[in-house]
Amino acid sequence: MAYDTTTWEVVIGLEVHCQLLTHSKIFSGAATAYGAAPNTQADGVTLGLPGVLPVLNKTALEYAVKFGLAIDAKIAERCVFARKHYFYPDLPKGYQISQYELPIVYEGHLDVELDGADGKQVKRIGITRAHMEEDAGKSLHEGYVGQSGIDLNRAGTPLIEIVSEPDIRSAAEAVAYLKKLHQLVVYLGVCDGNMQEGSFRCDANVSVRKRGETKFGTRTETKNVNSFRYVEKAIEFEIERQIDVIESGGRIVQETRLFDPGTGETRSMRTKEDANDYRYFPDPDLLPVVVTAADIERVRATMPELPEAKKARFIEQYQLPAYDAWVLTSEQALADYYEQVVRESKAEAKLCANWVITDLLGGLNKAGKSIAESPIDAIQLAGMIARIADKTISGKIAKDVFEAMMAGEGSADDIIQAKGLVQITDESAIVAVIDEIMAKNPAQLEQFRSGKDKLFGFFVGQVMKATQGKANPDAVNRLLKEKLSG
């Protein structure tokens, strides 16, 4: 932090637009698939043709309720859609159907873990509301002179806009909150979380004030930042810009700003003096939406185990350290993968955790792949770990087997067979190798016996080399000790 935190306090509130993972649009049966040819998913309702009527998507409503339950929020028994008016070519009706006075979800919160002076601290960030609304289309300005191209495929995609309380006090807290929120909506299966495709985008409201002030400073809103890193940069830039303006005697203007990833700076969008006069009123095309207690219970029954609960269960059930449990539950797919490895391998849970965290995640990370794209599936990894557990291979040989599996050379058993990697546990065979090595290295043997203990490692190395690493390390250690001491 480049600014003086003893003088200045930063106040941040975030608005997150989260696309709901439905097949069809919020108010019509047009498809919502990403990347389709322009306007092939824009039906009469999406285009706002005369005479069409919106009808609410049941799944979109259920997803909004599901999100509300996950953040411990209140679910409105009765909520209302309102028209938000503004003119833009990617909004064909001249208004966006949103919610204003009566949103579906209100008064929730999210607990975020932060790095504090003395380890991890939990901070509760309030969520004022989450309302349902339709997304707008896209304007393409490049390639045309004096014109813009409009693609309305995205228009009408269901969104929830999640509005936080101004509880956030730094860029790092903002990112921690966003990551937690992102993890949650993906876990819930209500959003694919794809930030590049705009499924999860963030507007940041930032203001600064002198410590001790009770009134908030004037805020600016930085729009549509679509990566965690950019959010952090945009907020940091905005904090320093605002402090500079105030310290040099200026005043902050309430305005909308855009983040430029190229320069790492935010800049003012053309100020529209009446941009905020949206003239909201209840949409006469849509009746109030009623959600009964029974509806809520039905949705509650579909709730998956959430990250916090899963982490606690991993610690308890698998006796894992908190760190391991945290890493393994960071993504639903990873947690499922891990649990399948434990189940199938019947090996010790901690051994499985080590392989998944260190080797698998390390390897995937290097290859830039997600868990879903892993060249080794859970059953294959379990098969390999089972061979360690039953002592067919040593942990050291397993590293080579794992590499071969990552390279697509087949199952652990195939690789062990093909490369002759089966561990030598036959003690008479190991003793024979030891005898041979002792005979070949009389000088070292002499030195060891006269007290040069360090040479023990040399003998272990020789045995391993002679057996291409296949000798069981425990047996080698024990037998060497016996033989060397004479």
């Binding site: 439905t22 609410l56 998507n57 799944t59 191209g149 009446d274 009746l287």
Partner: protein, 95 residues
């Protein structure tokens, strides 16, 4: 409640309606009369009455989440003033 000429100009601008200067005065008067009529409602006792979001005493029915609308781009674009490569073309808009 009565509307000033400035109010009328502001609302017309927000609605992207073009008004000639000599229209503003008469429109302000007409709109003010409408508002005065609606204002009679303020005289009604509404204590304990929940505001109504819709005149129909029903609630919204829901649609199953299924794709039911085929691609009819060609038909829709046939009536558009200008299209290119599947895009609707409009006068340039810049942020």
């Amino acid at each position: 409640m009565s509307l000033s000429p400035e109010n009328v100009k502001q609302v017309a601008h927000l609605a992207r309606l073009e008004l000639a200067d000599d229209q503003v005065g008469p429109i302000a008067e007409k709109l003010s009369n409408i508002l005065a009529m609606v204002d009679q409602l303020s005289g009604a006792n509404t204590q304990g009455v929940t505001p109504m979001a819709h005149p129909l005493d029903m609630h919204q029915r829901l649609r199953p989440d299924a794709v039911s609308e085929p691609d009819r781009r060609e038909a829709f674009q046939a009536i558009a003033p200008e299209v290119d490569n599947g895009l609707y073309l409009v006068p340039k808009v810049i942020e």
